[in-house]
């Protein structure tokens, strides 16, 4: 993979690109970071959806979709994600490269212009978004909040995280609350949009076959017109550990879920971050992991049992699907696996296969436009930005001692259970 090039266009506005003809498509993404807080999260998460549906030139959903179809089924999508105590609003546009069009059309130029129109020239009148469109987005947002409940695995995870981070901004759902969604209107969204384009930290990425020169000029011309005043983006990972907290919910289901939340006490230090990633994978990410092999396969205690870490919040979460009668047994078994790591009980097989797994996954990133951008975006707030290949080299240097040392820092913080009960 060619090296990522980066150009600071303005204060807190950067254009990153890789010119690469291996792909059949061009991908352009704009990610805007704002502080995460309960007052604004609903507005922003509605806004990012609303903006991608229309713009001044294509003022309704159908005319926009038709425009995209005419660009050979180009897709516009959005994401709204929590990055620690920050909210990342992401706009993506993807379409086939110029060389695949029927008549050699300049598609990538059109794609970047359309994305700019979506972000900077929305369909607003009298300092307000169209109320009908707003209502539709609000309804979708409420549906989204409700449908989290439909998937019990996701529901359990969300409930556990919000319980674990009670009182912190991170406890907030990225969709906000139904109550706040209902308060949003065209005018409040207009204000939020103004704030967003003025105050956010912006990271633009382009991966495709063309030189980004024209694109950079397009983005510059739009940002030039804005009176920018970027906001500070704080993130506080450390919460005082007050002992283990428990929460149980009951529901009419056939399978129970258990989530264990840990504080990792490792934060923003590259070396421990890499050891932490290694330990997490050895414990519960992948078919080589202790949780998969010992808790799921050998003991048959869970259908799924896996772990993930969040470096921004310095947490590690273990999620599992278990039969109600096995909840305690599964918990003991999972905690036993962590204890084993702290005692240095790591076989060569476990150690080597974790390393191979991580290195393989890191090398693979360069074959996907989405993965490349995801990778670099996940490092936005790191002091040093490493490529996946450079990261893989550091993974190869991790020692068992480093793994034991980060495992010892784990503190159980939250035990959340969603217990299945059968209706009488």
């Amino acid at each position: 993979m060619k090296e990522l090039q980066r150009q600071e266009l303005f204060d807190c506005v950067a254009f990153n690109y890789i010119t690469d003809n291996r792909f059949t498509t061009s991908l352009i993404t704009v990610t805007m970071y704002m502080p995460l807080n309960i007052e604004t999260v609903s507005e922003y998460s509605i806004l990012v959806n609303l903006l991608t549906r229309t713009c001044k030139e294509y003022p309704d959903f159908t005319s926009m979709s038709k425009k995209l179809s005419s660009l050979y089924g180009a897709t516009v999508s959005f994401d709204c994600e929590k990055v620690g105590d920050r909210l990342a609003l992401r706009f993506n546009i993807k379409g086939i490269d110029d060389r695949y069009s029927f008549n050699n059309e300049k598609l990538s130029k059109e794609l970047s212009e359309l994305l700019c129109k979506i972000i900077f020239e929305p369909n607003v009148n009298d300092e307000s978004f169209d109320e009908k469109e707003v209502e539709q987005c609000k309804r979708e947002q409420i549906d989204m909040i409700d449908s989290l409940f439909n998937d019990k695995r996701i529901y359990a995870l969300h409930s556990a995280i919000s319980f674990m981070h009670e009182g912190e901004p991170f406890a907030i759902s990225r969709f906000g609350t139904k109550e706040n969604v209902k308060k949003v209107d065209g005018k409040s969204l207009y204000k939020a949009w103004k704030e967003l384009i003025r105050k956010s930290k912006v990271e633009i990425y382009y991966i495709g076959e063309n030189s980004p020169k024209m694109m950079i000029e397009t983005f510059k011309s739009y940002f030039e017109k804005i009176d920018r005043s970027p906001v500070g983006l704080m993130n506080s990972p450390i919460k005082e550990h007050v002992g283990v907290r428990y929460k149980n919910e009951e529901m009419n289901l056939s399978q129970s879920k258990m989530i264990l939340g840990f504080r990792t006490n490792c934060f923003e230090d590259e070396k421990t971050e890499i050891a932490e990633l290694f330990m997490n994978s050895l414990l519960g990410r992948g078919a080589h992991s202790k949780l998969f092999n010992n808790v799921r396969e050998k003991l048959s205690l869970c259908y799924y049992c896996s772990s993930r870490n969040n470096t921004h919040k310095a947490t590690l979460i273990i999620e599992s699907g278990v039969e109600s009668k096995n909840i305690e047994k599964a918990k003991t078994a999972i905690l036993g696996e962590i204890e084993a790591i702290t005692k240095g009980e790591i076989t060569d097989f476990e150690f080597n296969s974790t390393r191979e797994f991580l290195v393989n996954n890191l090398y693979k990133i360069s074959d996907s436009q989405n993965d490349i951008i995801d990778w670099y975006l996940s490092k936005t707030f790191n002091t040093k930005i490493l490529s996946p290949q450079q990261y893989a080299e550091l993974i190869k240097k991790v020692t068992k001692e480093e793994i034991v040392s980060v495992a010892k820092k784990l503190q159980l913080d939250t035990v959340y259970t969603l217990t299945a009960i059968s209706e009488a």
Binding site: F23, I96, A287, Y303, N352, S353, Y363
Partner: protein, 424 residues
């Protein structure tokens, strides 16, 4: 050995088809500049193949869910399981069973040949004992329960149960806790010997690979077995549906629905027919369609809406699905739109746009090694070619698509399935 190069001038890409002396069909799709690879080893055998005869002998009826059970069991051998072997190479491996095929695959960026050797070896080395079969019951039982809690899964199978009288596509892929309890090593061997015959299988590899290295491993591992003729036995399926409505209560916040039209199974090997119906569906129901817009505006669906041509050699149906607070109204609107298109004809501009969009979308998938490997398997089992399909999309006419519509969507063969919460 016959090695054939298949080229597409239109998109300047190529792949190779090999008739291996063992009877196995092999596809190799090199992707220049890519660092990773995906290999998929599949058999044309899925959950619907629950009654069959070999070489004209008597029909064997096997327990429901056995194809999926077999997939799980094949990972084991007397020397340990395949995941453990993959762990040493760092490959990401998995498998899946659908209604009509079972596929084993891995992706990797290092140690490709070693991983391919593992794949070919474990899939061709069955090892089933009373003890290992018994152990698997717990794990698969948990998996079945997890699906029981999935409203999306329930709404689909409820719909299929009212669409089909006899066709086994209405049976859950994993079977039931009771049906899998009847599985024995003997049943597993008899299914294995019938369907895991190399002439009933395909190997497809895409990415950072060349023909020679794939053949080197295939030559080393694969052995020519006895060739068998398999006859799948399906009970006669009436054209009619069982019932036009089914409803279930489950813990969901928003009701979800599946609206299915029972269609006559067709010749799925015809690229043009498939391109026609794909374009037709895009015209009727994609997010740039009038119907989608209307459903959204009238708050009858949300952006979760999707559609699918659900088909195999012996079954075919069209399914629309979405979350909806008014599922019956949504179904009525969809039916009204289809009726109106049938009576008044389709729109020519919609046709041109849909064709372009679908063409672009199919070019886009050639970015991902795993999608390419998967698509090659799908297309081979269906008897189609990936490039001929692309050409067909470019060449289909408005009349072709209009004719296609006239053959589809019989309003008397339409089932609505709803899963809703107690309070909805």
């Amino acid at each position: 050995m016959n090695i054939k190069e298949i080229k597409s001038d239109k998109i300047d890409q190529k792949y190779y088809v090999i008739d291996h002396p063992t009877g196995l069909k092999i596809f190799v799709y090199p992707k220049e500049g890519f660092g990773s690879s995906c290999a998929m080893f599949g058999t044309k055998y899925g959950s619907i193949n629950n009654a069959f005869s070999v070489d004209g002998k008597e029909v064997v009826k096997v327990p429901d869910g056995i194809a999926h059970f077999l997939e799980h069991k094949l990972f084991e051998s007397d020397e340990g399981d395949a995941f453990t072997r993959y762990a040493k190479t760092g490959a990401n491996a998995n498998a899946f069973t659908t209604f009509d095929r079972t596929c084993y695959y891995f992706t990797c960026s290092e140690n490709f040949k070693e991983s391919l050797e593992i794949l070919l070896d474990f899939v061709t080395s069955p090892y089933f004992t009373e003890q290992t079969v018994k152990k698997e019951l717990g794990i698969i039982g948990q998996e079945i329960k997890m699906y029981d809690d999935s409203p999306e899964w329930c709404v689909l199978f409820n719909m299929l149960s009212k669409m089909y009288y006899n066709h086994p596509v209405k049976i859950d892929i994993a079977g039931t806790v009771d049906s899998i309890a009847k599985i024995t090593p003997e049943y597993l061997y008899s299914c294995y010997n019938a369907y895991y015959n190399l002439s009933n299988m395909v190997l497809s590899v895409a990415g950072n690979v060349d023909v020679d290295e794939v053949l080197e491993v295939a030559d080393k591992v694969l052995k020519k077995g006895d060739l068998h003729t398999i006859n799948n036995h399906f009970e006669n399926e009436p054209d009619e549906i069982v019932n036009d409505y089914i409803e279930q209560t489950a813990p969901v916040a928003i009701p979800i629905f599946n609206l299915g039209f029972k269609e006559k199974p067709r010749d799925i090997s015809n690229e043009k027919d498939v391109a026609c119906s794909d374009i037709l569906m895009y015209m009727i129901a994609s997010d740039s369609s009038k119907m989608y817009r209307d459903l959204l505006d009238s708050e009858l669906i949300n952006t979760d809406f999707s559609y699918e041509i659900f088909e195999g050699e012996s079954f075919c149906s069209i399914i629309f699905s979405s979350e909806s607070r008014k599922p019956k109204k949504a179904a009525e609107t969809i039916k009204a739109y289809i009726n109106s298109y049938k009576q008044n004809g389709l729109d020519k501009d919609d046709f041109e746009l849909s064709k372009k969009a679908l063409y672009g979308k199919n070019i886009s998938i050639l970015n991902s090694v795993s999608t390419i490997a998967n698509t090659l398997v799908d297309e081979y089992f269906a008897g189609r070619d990936i490039y001929k399909y692309l050409d067909a999309i470019a060449n289909v006419t408005f009349e072709d698509v209009s004719n296609c519509l006239s053959r589809m969507f019989d309003m008397d063969k339409c089932v609505l399935s709803v899963v809703k919460g107690q309070e909805n």
